[in-house]
């Protein structure tokens, strides 16, 4: 827990991160890393001031992918915007969809059906696995381990196949809607998920583990590099595996449970899923790698619990709430369905949320992804603020690399899992 409780000890004078030069007055020069660089995870730019190979100061320039997401949120309505949320953390798009509609449903005050909660939990965990697979693969790739990149990517292809089966798109899924999902899962899909977890994913994780975890080169490049202390992690508003690798005991799935992580999620006393939250204390790149690997294994446990417990029933809440679209069969064959559809879709009708604000957040693979929604009663949000974990986690980066070598900059960056689209929005 935070130890700084006395205001007189307040000594934060944060300034640019700098490291003292050596007395001998070495050779100081400037290196520009990015924005086009294989290891910058798309468009990030660092201007490093180096003394030989040692980083004296690091200035980060971002915004190379700023596309006006939050302004778009004021134009597109609550169902249309899910398309844009896919493109935020694009390596686990389902998780963003779920987080957005979780926030919307909180604003509307809608409680989704048990079947929808179960399916969303399965999808959220698959998205978490997808994210960690790519993050660790890219971490290996940035340090030179090309095979360690290929194995996780192959496992991700199967996850893409699973998503494609339920919503038609590998990648930019847009699967959730306010009050439910786009369409139900196909029969037999949960068995495929189970087969994937026990067979292909287990092998992929084992192979990947064998390649990197005790690899001398990997250990020497990540151990002790980019240390983030426990108190700093809290102060820098860091969440997710980055914070947990520094010893911060916080996971929204346990602390503020939602979906099937909460007890009595099906209204009939259904037990919450049981899983552990991996915490490390060393706070370096190796700790973050280990935390993500362990989280993947815990996600597999959650999936194996949930695939047998998906209850029958509707996936969307009743259309009377004026927030969900009725089933297509209803629209074509009944007048009530048609009227409800028009109420939703016509430009002078649409959503009627209550006036006010709401903040809803999920624990995604990168940290706490939250949406602060302000609504004035209209069809689209008055303000759709995304609380992006990548952006907030990345703030401490200059302070982590100062004093290290240039190659450590790459190691630290890849351990932070910065997704440029979520960063710049």
């Amino acid at each position: 827990m935070a130890t700084l409780t006395d205001p007189s000890q307040l000594s934060y004078e944060i300034g640019p991160a700098t490291y003292a030069r050596e007395e001998s007055g070495g050779d100081v020069w400037t290196l520009n890393l990015g924005p086009q660089h294989p290891a910058t995870h798309t468009t990030l730019r660092h201007v490093l001031e180096l003394e030989g190979e040692r980083v004296l100061s690091c200035t980060v320039h971002i915004g190379y992918l700023h596309s006006g997401f939050e302004k778009l949120g004021e134009k597109l309505n609550f169902n249309q915007y899910v398309v844009v949320t896919d493109r935020m953390n694009y390596i686990s798009p389902m998780a963003n969809n779920i987080a957005w509609h979780h926030a919307c449903e909180k604003l509307f005050g809608i409680e989704i059906t048990p079947r929808c909660k179960a399916i969303r939990t399965i999808i959220a965990e698959l998205a978490r696995i997808q994210d960690h697979l790519l993050c660790l693969g890219a971490a290996g790739l940035d340090l030179g381990a090309f095979t360690a990149f290929m194995y996780p990517f192959n496992a991700r292809e199967t996850i893409y196949d699973l998503f494609e089966e339920i919503c038609g798109a590998r990648f930019t899924t847009s699967y959730t809607r306010v009050g439910g999902l786009m369409q139900d899962i196909t029969p037999g899909w949960t068995q495929k998920v189970r087969h994937f977890c026990t067979d292909e994913l287990a092998r992929a994780i084992d192979d990947f583990d064998a390649l990197l975890t005790r690899n001398r080169i990997f250990l020497e490049r990540t151990k002790g590099v980019g240390y983030l202390s426990h108190d700093d992690a809290i102060s820098w508003s860091v969440t997710g595996p980055l914070a947990r690798a520094s010893g911060v005991r916080r996971d929204l799935r346990k602390d503020e449970p939602y979906l099937c992580y909460a007890d009595d999620w099906d209204g009939q006393g259904g037990r919450a899923v049981t899983f552990k939250v991996p915490i490390a204390t060393s706070g370096d790149c190796l700790a973050r790698y280990q935390v993500r690997l362990a989280e993947m294994k815990e996600s597999v446990k959650i999936l194996l619990q949930m695939v047998d417990r998906v209850p029958d029933g509707p996936i969307n809440v009743l259309p009377n709430d004026k927030a969900t679209l009725p089933d297509k069969r209803e629209i074509y064959f009944s007048i009530e369905g048609l009227i409800h559809h028009f109420e939703q879709v016509m430009t002078n009708r649409g959503f009627e949320p209550p006036v006010g604000e709401s903040y809803g957040s999920n624990e995604t693979a990168n940290g706490e992804l939250g949406f602060h929604l302000v609504s004035d009663g209209g069809n689209s949000a008055y303000r759709a603020r995304c609380r992006p974990p990548s952006f907030i986690n990345y703030q401490c980066f200059p302070h982590l690399v100062v004093g290290h070598q240039v190659s450590d900059v790459i190691a630290v960056l890849s351990s932070m899992n910065v997704i440029a689209a979520e960063l710049d929005r």
Binding site: G63, S67, G68
Partner: protein, 195 residues
């Protein structure tokens, strides 16, 4: 063509073998031209900004292997590449970077505009996204999709291969300039001044 395809390589003498295979190769090159070798060894420059970058990586990964087309060498330096794959939306801040990278590539060079955002701006009709890379780069192939499936990107690479085969060493100034649709000005005001 002078090639006996049924020759058993170990049956003939060494000199015969060498001369037959060599003449086969020379004939192949003479027939198909240098363009044949050029098209089968395109080195892409992946300018991957956003989600299309992930599908580009998936195309390079083991399932949809871009190495089958000789293009797995994704060197991130423009000096060594001849195919610029512009994958993802281009923000106005990134635009000078992309222009500079294109200028730094050596001739002959080709451009694939991958995805809806690079081709036209895509979903993002906003103040910060350039509505189509073809406003300042001559694009040869547009690959549609958001993001395009890896198979679609491979079809785009094959289209580039057909272009390379046909046109060969033409300088990029002499080739097609892309569609270059002119974006209608949204507001005729002083640029950048707010009310």
């Amino acid at each position: 063509m002078g090639v006996e395809t049924n020759i058993a390589p170990f049956a003939a003498s060494k000199e015969e073998f060498l001369s037959t295979k060599l003449s086969y190769l020379v004939d192949l090159l003479r027939e198909n031209g240098v363009n044949w070798s050029r098209k089968n060894s395109l080195w892409p420059m992946p300018f991957a900004t956003a989600c299309c970058g992930i599908e580009l990586m998936a195309t390079g990964a083991s399932r949809y292997d871009i190495a089958r087309f000789g293009a797995e060498v994704m060197r991130f330096t423009p000096r060594q590449c001849d195919l610029l794959i512009c994958a993802g939306r281009v923000a106005i801040k990134t635009m000078p970077v992309l222009q500079r990278i294109y200028q730094q590539m050596a001739e002959p060079k080709w451009v694939i505009s991958m995805g809806a955002c690079a081709s036209t701006g895509g979903v993002f009709d906003t103040y910060a996204v350039v509505q189509g890379v073809d406003q300042f780069l001559p694009v040869d192939v547009y690959v549609p999709g958001c993001p395009p499936r890896p198979e679609t990107l491979l079809e785009g690479v094959m289209a580039i291969q057909r272009i390379v085969e046909k046109e060969g060493l033409k300088h990029s100034h002499e080739r097609q300039r892309g569609l270059g649709l002119v974006v209608q000005e949204t507001v005729k005001l002083d640029v950048g001044k707010e009310s």
